[in-house]
């Protein structure tokens, strides 16, 4: 099979595009925008990671430098979990501006992730952000539509379409030729972008890259390529099936608006409307009520804790908790922490299920909207998606729980059971124990897990590829010259 005719048509199309000075201006402008996006993404990434690393390190030092003290004091002194970004988040900010960046981790209490960029911004942030991903996913498709709307429709208007077809060019050759034409113009922007992207990415990590990150990067590039080619195909197909170039342009603009603005926001808003999530005050008071139902460790007369006390006294055959061979209040706190975190996790799970239901609407539209599929996939690859955030919070909570229980265990083991008198020095343990609690390290999700999570998006992109091939075939058979 020779592609001679296709290549000829593509070349012709490309030449006609470059005769238009507006294309130069737009292309130049998008180039500048891409540079700006790379620069600001870089700066943002560095700021975020340097600050977060600095304070993670500083707070760890602080923790270790605590003098000898009661382990329960340390449990309240607590630790911090600071969120770190992955290298791909330079190009795809995803939900990052809406994530809290720091969680204070202490005993008895699950604190919220605070200090998100969105909380410190006025409404400006809601208009969106300039990132490489935004340019690739939103602006380039529109540019493709602007380039391609008159690919076939203009030939029809001029009457050259009939000439072409009568000279023995088939519809399939014409469509493919125009597709190659638009795609080659798009690649003139895409390929340099990718080269810059890879260089920036390599520099960021000082050329020491992990396999996991590399696969994510390759998929990021590959899927965006497929995504852009979609839009080239859609442009050609709409242009070929429209009577006039004006109709083609209006339809393409409509499709773009629906894909990038109306469907994503509309479906998410619908999900949020139908599945209403509780507010913080409601969430917290529900948890508090459940914990009280189970028993209040701070209430000396509580039935649940009294039962524990009685059974301990029976087993150790003593008549008061002071005579137990271990620290009684440490034991009770271990139990309390276990119960309260179990209840908290149960409520959190319910809350996350509500969120998942809210998100299910927009997720389901991946099958009709390639933008959503691409957006979800690229956010997942750069660990700036919803799942990664939940994952960060889970890791922080797990660390918190282990830290609190470690301090309780130290108290049980080393702290005397006899309460010191008012004027006595407090009971303390050696500061070397503090190092027994490891440092918090956020571990971003690996590629396999990301792909598993995003199976819907990948599946829908594959489906889109088939669909477009099919549409080209159908169009090639059924299109008319007039």
């Amino acid at each position: 099979m020779s592609l001679y005719n296709e290549i000829l048509i593509a070349k012709h199309f490309r030449n006609s595009v470059f005769k238009n000075s507006a294309v130069f201006i737009i292309t130049l402008f998008i180039g500048v925008l891409l540079l700006y996006a790379t620069f600001s993404g870089w700066e943002n990434y560095n700021n975020q990671n340097q600050t977060s690393e600095k304070y993670q390190h500083e707070s760890r030092e602080d923790w270790l430098n605590n003098p000898d003290k009661n382990p329960h004091r340390m449990a309240h002194y607590g630790n911090f979990a600071f969120r770190k970004s992955t290298s791909l988040s330079v190009f795809e900010f995803g939900m990052e501006p809406f994530f809290g960046n720091a969680i204070f981790l202490e005993a008895h209490k699950q604190n919220s992730a605070n200090f998100s960029e969105a909380g410190f911004s006025n409404s400006m942030l809601r208009f969106g952000e300039i990132s490489i991903a935004m340019v690739l996913q939103i602006l380039l498709p529109l540019l493709i539509f602007f380039l391609g709307f008159n690919a076939v429709a203009a030939e029809r208007e001029n009457g050259t379409l009939k000439l072409l077809l009568s000279q023995g060019i088939s519809w399939k050759e014409l469509l493919l030729g125009k597709f190659f034409g638009i795609a080659s113009v798009t690649m003139l922007l895409y390929i340099p972008t990718i080269i810059v992207l890879i260089l920036v990415w390599l520099f960021l990590q000082n050329f020491t890259i992990s396999l996991d990150e590399t696969i994510k990067m390759i998929l990021f590039i590959g899927f965006h390529l497929i995504y852009l080619l979609f839009f080239c195909t859609i442009a050609v197909l709409i242009s070929a099936s429209s009577k006039t170039s004006k109709k083609a342009l209006i339809s393409l603009i409509g499709i773009w608006l629906i894909f990038t603005i109306i469907l994503p926001r509309g479906t998410q808003a619908l999900g949020a409307y139908i599945y209403e999530a509780p507010s913080k005050i409601q969430f917290n008071s529900d948890i508090e009520k459940d914990i009280l139902k189970q028993g209040d460790s701070h209430n000396p007369n509580d039935v649940y804790y009294k039962a524990i006390k009685d059974s301990l006294l029976r087993v150790y055959k003593v008549d008061s908790v002071q005579k137990l061979p271990f620290n009684y209040s440490g034991f009770i706190m271990t139990e309390g922490e276990k119960i309260s975190s179990k209840i908290y996790n149960k409520h959190l799970e319910t809350l996350l299920q509500v969120y998942a239901k809210q998100n299910s609407f927009s997720r389901a539209t991946s099958f009709v909207n390639p933008y959503i599929a691409m957006k979800n996939l690229s956010m997942a690859l750069s660990n700036t998606d919803y799942d990664s955030y939940i994952d960060f919070q889970n890791q922080a909570e797990k660390y918190r729980y282990e830290m609190a229980q470690k301090m309780n265990a130290l108290q049980i083991k080393y702290i005397s059971n006899i309460k010191p008198k008012d004027t006595d020095k407090p009971l303390i343990i050696n500061k070397n124990h503090w190092a027994e609690v490891g440092e918090f390290h956020y571990q971003p999700k690996g590629i396999l897990e990301v792909l598993k999570n995003e199976i819907v998006s990948i599946f829908s992109i594959i489906l889109w590829i088939f669909l477009l091939f099919l549409l080209i075939r159908i169009a090639a058979k059924n299109l008319k010259a007039i």
């Binding site: 200090f115 909380g119 969120y355």
Partner: protein, 449 residues
């Protein structure tokens, strides 16, 4: 003539679909607003009930020591939500409208965020301000991009030109009809909103409405200017959509990035780490030193000397106070930075009508960053008030039963910032006149019509 033109306009299928679409989505935005309003009201009611139960329960559990009791008890301050807030939710979904704080160190409690689904925040609400800022312009563009050019392309323009005495007035009439229908649409939706969301017809509402009208006129002025260039329909569509894209996404996003990088806030994390250390290190330090610092801040409490005990509530709350006192500098810096951010974005927004309109609507609805900063300030005052009320009682170890606990109701903060009409209207007005003037000038100078 005008009636005929109107009939011609409204009979077109595209017009009907467009207007109907906008009307429906306008209603949807009101539903979103209503749900938001209900949730806010419910939260405030719940906060009141919760506070009552919470205090009663803790008073029952800790009846002996007022110092211990106040370790637990939380007091709530509500940031009043106006009904008009449902039209422009703004930052109220990110920032909590209720602060619940104990009298312990405030800096560790003040910045707790609201629970939310980041996906909702990323993709955004469909509140009325979204419909107005994003979607109205699209319809305006769709209605006006092919005025004149379409008639020229189909060859009917010559007939118009020969039949009407003044083609310029003819063009103005075409715009007039379209402006009228969209302003009517705006009025209908807002009128329903007034009934449905119980929005009072006060100065805020009229300011909101006027910004809506000015904003619609702005987009018509832009379209008028582009039509005056007398290019073909395709060119007009591409250029108008590009302008929309610039004003709605590219410029706001670029400015946002600029502001974020210009005023970074590492103070936030610095503050959190610092207040924790400032409080906790006092446990291992000389008690009298801590108390001396405390007396320095509050000389009125000098009459309470350090008790000769390993632990005392006086010492404990003095330590807590140090958490706030010693991180006050960072806290102040953070507040200043945020104010700078707010001022800078407002100043720049004056030159970008979309951004300006959004910020002004949020300001009117008390859902902007400015309101949040005032609320944080008020939280400081509220916290200080509670602190000063209870400190002497704790230091005297007054009996818990002496206090009438039921009097501690949820308090409300009302943001009374006045709407600056000139500041909010003038930028839009200037842009409108500018485009109108240049458009007219173009029409006058091109005799081709």
């Amino acid at each position: 003539m005008l009636v005929l033109l109107f009939k011609n306009f409204i009979r077109s299928k595209g017009t009907k679909i467009g207007l109907l679409f906008l009307l429906i989505i306008g209603f949807i935005s009101l539903l979103t607003g209503q749900q938001f309003q209900e949730k806010q009201t419910q939260n405030i009611q719940e906060a009141a009930v919760y506070q009552k139960e919470h205090i009663a329960k803790n008073v029952k559990f800790h009846p002996d020591e007022i110092g211990l009791l106040l370790y637990y008890v939380k007091f709530s301050l509500v940031n009043n939500t106006l009904p008009i807030n449902s039209l422009a939710i703004g930052q109220r979904d990110v920032n909590p409208s209720i602060q619940s704080v104990t009298i312990r160190g405030l800096e560790g409690q003040k910045y707790d965020s609201e629970l939310n689904n980041p996906n909702n925040l990323l993709l955004g609400n469909i509140d009325f301000s979204f419909v107005l800022i994003y979607l109205f312009p699209l319809l305006i563009i769709a209605f006006s991009y092919n005025l004149v050019s379409e008639e020229k392309e189909s060859g009917t323009w010559k007939i118009v030109a020969t039949q009407s005495s003044n083609t310029f007035f003819y063009i103005l009439k075409l715009f007039y009809i379209r402006i009228l229908s969209l302003i009517t649409l705006l009025t209908i939706v807002l009128f329903i909103a007034v009934l449905f969301l119980e929005i009072p017809l006060d100065k805020s509402f009229w300011a909101f409405y006027s910004i809506g009208i000015l904003y619609i006129l702005f987009w018509f002025a832009v379209c008028f200017f582009i039509v005056s260039l007398q290019k073909n329909s395709n060119f007009n569509a591409v250029i108008l959509l590009t302008i929309w894209l610039f004003l709605i996404i590219i410029l706001p996003a670029t400015i946002n990035t600029y502001i974020v990088n210009k005023f970074p806030v590492p103070e936030a994390l610095e503050l959190t780490v610092k207040q924790r250390n400032a409080y906790h290190e006092k446990w291992d330090m000389d008690k009298q030193t801590t108390l001396d610092k405390f007396y320095n801040h509050y000389p009125q409490f000098k009459k309470y000397p350090l008790p000769d005990k390993e632990f005392s509530w006086l010492w404990y709350y003095a330590m807590q106070q140090m958490g706030d006192d010693e991180s006050a500098k960072e806290s102040q810096e953070l507040a200043v930075k945020l104010k700078q951010r707010n001022n800078a974005s407002q100043a720049i927004a004056q030159f970008i009508p979309t951004l300006h309109a959004q910020i002004q609507l949020n300001e009117i609805a008390k859902s902007d960053l400015g309101n949040q900063l005032l609320f944080l300030d008020e939280t400081n005052k509220f916290h200080e008030k509670m602190r000063l009320y209870f400190y002497p009682k704790i230091f005297d170890n007054e009996a818990v039963s002496n206090e009438n606990w039921s009097k501690f109701k949820v308090e409300t903060f009302n943001d009374t910032t006045e709407v600056h009409l000139i500041k909010s209207f003038l930028p839009l007005l200037i842009f409108n006149l500018l485009f109108l003037f240049v458009g007219c000038w173009n029409f006058r100078n091109k005799n081709s019509y």
